[in-house]
Each structure stands twice: as C-alpha cells, then as structure tokens.
Symmetry: C2
C-alpha cells in the first residue's frame, strides 16, 4: 500500500513543481489555513475546504489568451453559506472575482443603483442603502458580519490553474492534522488540460500566422495524492459535471473507483440548479427541488450540504 | 471602389450569419442604440461607442470550456467616464461582469464590508455606507446619478464572440445616421480565433480521450466592413495590444494601412497603464504618465480621451 501511495504522490509532486509555477505566497497561505483549521477544530468545529470557480489556463507566458471553464462560482459560494449555517468553519478557495458568500445574493445589482445621498445639516452627506433595491439586506448583512467577527470564513483566491493546484495541495497539508473533522468539497471547475511552461510561446500569438493549432497535455489528477497521502483521514467530496446525462453516473462511479474518496456530487449542466445525485460506494441519493421549493427560492445547495454534513458526522463516528 | 467595398461586407456578412449564431435580441438592441444615438445627436452631442472586455469563444456547443482574452474592462470603463466628462453620450458595449463606469472604482471592495446597520427607534434598521471604505463615494454617486438621469450612458452586454460580432455590426448600423459625430472606440479584447459551429463537439470534451488538440479558424475582421460600409463617415479608433514592444508600431501602422480608419491606440501589456502611442496616418503621439501624475492617481485614459476627442472635433470640422 505504501508504495502505490507514495508513487502517486511522487508523480503528481514531480509534475507540480516542474510544470506549474509555484505561487510566491503559497507558504504564507498554508500557514494561514493551518492556523485557521487548528483554531476551529480545537473549538470543536468541523472544517470544510470549498473550492469554487473556474481555473485560467494561459496559452502564452505573457498571457493575453487563456482557456477557462464555465463557472460563476455560484454553487461554491451558496454552499459556503449553508456550511456556515451548519456550524462548519469554511476555507473558501475561489477564483478571483467569482461569486462570494452573501455578496453573491446581489451580484445582479449595480450597487451604485442602491445608494442615495441624504444631505445633513452642515451640507455634508450621509449615504444610505435603498433596502428595496437589496432585498433582505439587513438580515444578510448581520449574518455576514457575524461570520466575519467570529472568524469562521477564510477566503483564499486563485486565478490560474497553477495557483489552484499548489494552493489545493497546501490546503490538504494544512488540514491533515484536522483528521476526519475535515471535509474537502471540491466544487471548482478545474481544467483537465494545460500547456506546459516549456511548450508555451512567450509572446502573444500573432493572428497573421494563420489558423491556430493548440496541443494541450492532461492535468495531473490531484485527488489521487490528496486522498492517499496529503489528507488521508479527511472526508472528500468531488463534483462531476457533464452535459450528456447518459454518461453521468458511470463517470461518477469511475471517479469513486479510481480515487476511493467518499462521494461524488453528479450533475448535468442544464439542470444543475434543481437536480443532483450524491453517489457513494454503496448508495445513490437523488436530490431534487420540487416546483413549490423553486417558487420559494429554496436552493439545491441547502440539500447537498444537509446530505453531506450528515454523512460527514456518520463518517467521523465510524473513524472513532 | 463600390465593388471592393461591397465584397468586403459580403464576405464578412456571409461568415457572420453562417458561422456565428445570431443573438435573439440583436434587433431590439439595434433599435435601442439607434434611438439613443439619434436623440443625443439631435441634442448636439457627439456619440461614442465603446467596446470593452474580452470575448468568450466556446469549445463545445453545450459550453463547459472556452477560450478567453485577458481583459478586466478597466480601460473601457474608465474611458467611458472621461468621454462623459467631455460631453459625449456613450454606448458601452461590454462583456458581462467586466468593469463598469464608476462602479469600477470600488471593484476591489466587497461592498458588504462598507455597510453598517443603524437601529432606529421602532427596532427597524437603516443601512448606511461607511464612507471611509468607499473613498469619494458622494462625488462618484452624484456623477453616476446625473449621467443616469440625463440618459447619457447606454449599457449593452455581450458574453460570447458571436454576440460581440453581431452587436458591433448592429451598433455600426445604428450609428450610421449620426455621421461624423459618431466615434468608435474599439477597446474590447476580441479573439482572433474561433471554432465554427459545424466543427464544434456538442458535449463536454472527455479528458479520458487523452491530450487535447484544438484547431481554430481566423475570426473575420469587422473593421473592414465597419469602415467601408456600415458607418463610413464615423471616426474610428482601434486598439493594438502586444507583449513584444519591438513589433508594436509596425503592427499599428499595418492595421491603419489595411483598414484605413482614423487612429490606432498602441500599447504593451506590461506598461499599458502608463504609456500608449496614438498612431494616425501621418502622426504618432506618445502619451505618458509622469511619476508625479502616477502619485496623484491620474489615469492614462484621461489623456487618451482628451487627445482623441480633440482629433474627433478636427475630423468633424474637416468633413464639414
């Protein structure tokens, strides 16, 4: 067992350091995450690492063009809120400018449209929020401020695939000592393909050279060393998004068989906001929003988090 | 002349309708833009169409992956403000969620961090802005509200390259009757490459198929029919961004010779916030921010807009 284990991590570690530039702040972030996890675990809290948003894959080293994955970050951001409601401490590893917990509720509003000046006596101005423009703002603001004051949410940003991969490894190492109290909720839309630094042109590709041919290599699968080596006691959830429903469950089962983690949340692009399947080694739970729930603006993430936090408690009890 | 002219537009028009899906709202947007331009031109105002942000180029028809161009939309959004200060009416054709005039000044702030509740007598709550968290908010808000109330800013959004191309054509047609009072300020980072709908896989590309080969075709050059056919009397500015300074001016001159428009704003990725060259058929103006100006947070867009609006007035006078 030890040999398979270490070979998986040696392969991925080798690729990580050779082909993906190490972000300069990765050590600092690892310390921040470890401190956050230890403090919260000591206070009796479970800790979840949520990854969210798409990764940017540069086509040039001085990057003008890049490959990206469709993801607004909505699922990760809303899930973070439900995990906080369920007494988790949350590390939110997200793409820069993707949706953010609480703030995401107003992402469709230009916030300047919600403000008004009120002149005070000496000619100075108070700026007030028009609460009709930001529904429930008082409740949301109080929740946001309480989470912040209690230090229950640690935001960490990435832009590129390289940053994501190194920060995920750092997070896994930081959470290792949290044992089975740690959950990984890997909702980010991570590229499967990249161009190694050695094969990347330095400068902007010129359109005058004619049509473009791009050859991309496979991104190393992080789940393998994460589950085997970096955080072997943690409760690990991956996501599987497909556009073709007919291959979805087969792909989810393949992922579980390959990586031997605890669950896959399987979903189809067109229906992802109202239907997912939580697949484990020996179960399959369909989570669906009823028409009535859709009307009441219930979010599917509430059900996903409820299902997984119960499974996580069960897992912790089993691990003793 | 007429034959070259119509052949340019026939080629691009043919490709546009065959290979780039027409967005369903393009007619509605054309009407909105034409109405906006006519109203403002009748009031004696110049009208500028600003394009801003990068274009999304799908790799699958049910899109999970796409190619994108680096662009926050900062240049377009700040230029819009300076054009409004210079009495232009502005059509702001921008990538969904890219930076927006005025709001962009606070893009680094999570707006929930700037709000506080103040309990009123009956237990209800006023939500106030902490003005230290949003510097100059009173001035900025007043400007934003004045522009909105006067109907001087028309925002139009795009996401994909197809949407951009069709909306740009519609804008050009909508502005044709504005004659030389119309300026096109084409600051968007538009992809040079795309995959035709007919060659695009329907479903998400499977990573289990191994490394990825992508073949992309050249995007038709819109500047050619725009200048020759769609809005032949307008004052047209394109942007040229390179990473290699040694080829920049040559590329800018090539573009002017090919499309015969009025100016190219040439800039290099690393220095684009402090240095640009405005290249015309017979002149070359370097615009630079001094160290002192950088300290005072002067923006290079103020200089670009000042240079171009003077050139536009001169151009209008020449056209009679």
């Amino acid at each position: 067992m030890a040999s398979t284990s270490s070979s998986a991590s040696v392969t991925v570690d080798g690729k990580l350091s050779e082909e993906f530039a190490v972000p300069s702040h990765v050590e600092e972030m690892r310390c921040l995450m470890a401190e956050f996890a230890e403090k919260n675990a000591a206070a009796g809290r479970k800790v979840v690492l949520i990854t969210s948003g798409g990764t940017k894959v540069p086509l040039e080293s001085r990057t003008v063009r890049f490959l990206d994955n469709f993801s607004s970050g909505r699922r990760g951001a809303s899930s973070a809120e439900y995990f906080l409601d369920s007494d988790y401490a949350v590390i939110f590893l997200h793409r820069h400018r993707s949706l953010y917990p609480y703030t995401r509720l107003y992402s469709g509003v230009n916030f300047l449209d919600s403000l008004k000046c009120e002149t005070e006596e000496e000619g100075s101005c108070q700026v007030l929020v028009d609460q009709k423009a930001l529904p429930n703002i008082v409740t949301v603001l109080r929740k946001y401020q309480a989470v912040k004051a209690a230090g229950l949410l640690l935001p960490i940003e990435f832009n590129t695939l390289s940053e994501y991969l190194h920060l995920l490894k750092a997070a896994a190492q930081a959470l290792n000592s949290t044992g089975s109290k740690a959950m990984f909720y890997l909702a980010a839309a991570v590229s499967d393909f990249y161009i190694p630094a050695s094969e990347m042109p330095e400068h902007k590709i010129q359109s005058s050279n004619g049509p473009l041919q791009i050859s991309m290599k496979m991104v190393p699968k992080m789940l393998s060393p994460l589950v085997k080596d970096w955080a072997p006691k943690a409760f690990v959830i991956s996501f599987k998004l497909e556009t073709d429903p007919s291959i979805l469950l087969e792909r989810a089962r393949q992922a579980l068989a390959t990586y031997k983690h605890q669950a896959v949340v399987a979903n189809v692009l067109d229906t992802r906001r109202g239907y997912v399947v939580v697949v484990t080694k020996d179960s399959q739970h369909e989570l669906v929003l009823s028409e009535d729930e859709v009307k009441k603006e219930v979010e599917i993430e509430e059900k996903i988090v409820s299902n997984l936090s119960a499974a996580h408690s069960h897992f912790m009890a089993q691990q003793g």
